[in-house]
Amino acid sequence: MNPVSPCLPNADPWLAHTVRIASITDEIQDVATYRLEFVDAAIADEFSFLPGQFNMLYLPGVGEAAISISSDPQQRGVLDHTVRVAGNVTGELARLNAGATFGLRGPFGSAWPIDECVGGDVVIVTGGIGLAPLRPAIHELLNRRDECGQLTLLYGAREPSGLLYTNEFDDWRQRGFDVAVTVDRGTDAWKGNVGVVPQLLDRMPLENPEQTTVLCCGPEVMMWFAARSALGRGVPAERIWVSLERNMNCAIGLCGHCQFGPSFICKDGPVLRYDQVAPLLRVEGF
């Protein structure tokens, strides 16, 4: 399994730390990025995370929600979470303004295998809001750009208005990522690619498939077909990684809400090696 980062050293994983909303950036409809800062400066200094991990955001009187961290792991003191309104907690969060405070537990879960990526080529395949948990990996790979081969981001959404972080694509391109974007449904104004994301993977040249790592996050059907394409192109199954989403409650593998076969998505995941989860990905009930 992928290495799991501990929470804050010696910290009680049940203990929520108070964070303040430093700023809110509206991304697309019903999706915003919340920049959070710890009220306790000591916690701010101590807190670190790995790309792919998540925090539990706790709104007193409402509940908790597991939200991936979407900022650069090297950026200390603040944390970004890109959140889609999907339930009570995220709905209440959407009603808060900058300056509001609430609780945060974390970081939890496994991480994208950046150390295994370096030295080879990396293809990130993602769709919709699935780009948010991969954004820290993009930052980390760019932070270590000289250690990597070709870096490619294949990103899709239902329509152009569903694309996240579009104002960052040029920066990522300039720093070394080849960014290809597609939408399932074009509009009159859209001059880019129309089609599904796995098609971009089918089409792209893979010079060294056996040395290529694929990181994938999005709807499970999309990830399954992306993995199928990667396998067909010669990428080893053990170099394909997916991020799964389930109903996470405790975040430390005790409550069982997020059990996925022998794994708990909150503790063993959310980032898992494709060959270890593939048999269950297309089974109803999992």
Binding site: R185, V196, P198, R203, G218, F225
Partner: protein, 156 residues
């Protein structure tokens, strides 16, 4: 830098790279290279199409006309993908309009020469038609994924 020959290009493109060298050479013998600029029409919906195109570089968009909505873009094709296969497996009537969205290099096969080659030499024809079937299968899977509307829950 010299323009790669058709044979060299066929050795790299997804549609033809797994074919034998003999088969690629046979295909190259009936192929023509063509350069399109943005806006050039490759095939037009409803009209007869007599050529199969393999995209070597660049992109071609497929549009279908819907009354009341006009031209609706349904797909963008890129390097290694084929279009206008109605000329080979259909009744020659194009079901979509293909338009180059940028400078695009295509390899064109006249339908009669292509069919003649495949019918006269089954060692060439079978693997070529198998690749065409695989290309159609990939397109079918992509269309299914579009139909599934996987990101619908993310839209209001």
């Amino acid at each position: 830098m010299a323009q790669p020959t058709i044979t060299e290009q066929l050795a790299k493109l997804q549609f033809t790279k797994d074919l034998s060298e003999l088969t690629r050479t046979a295909l190259a013998g009936i192929a023509q290279q063509r350069t399109l600029i943005a806006g050039d029409i490759v095939c037009r919906e409803g009209q007869s199409s007599r050529e199969l195109f393999l995209i070597a570089s660049g992109h071609v968009a497929l549009d279908m006309f819907v009354p009341g909505r006009g031209q609706v873009r349904i797909l963008t094709l890129g390097p290694g993908e084929v279009l206008a296969w109605s000329s080979i497996v259909g009744n020659h009537g194009s079901t979509a309009t293909g338009t180059a969205v940028e400078e695009t290099h295509v390899i064109a096969f006249r339908d009669e020469e292509f069919m003649q080659l495949c019918q006269s030499n089954h060692d060439v024809g079978y693997p070529v038609m198998r690749e065409l079937a695989k290309a159609i299968s990939r397109r079918l899977v992509s269309t299914r994924l579009q139909l599934l509307d996987l990101f619908a829950h993310e839209s209001a």
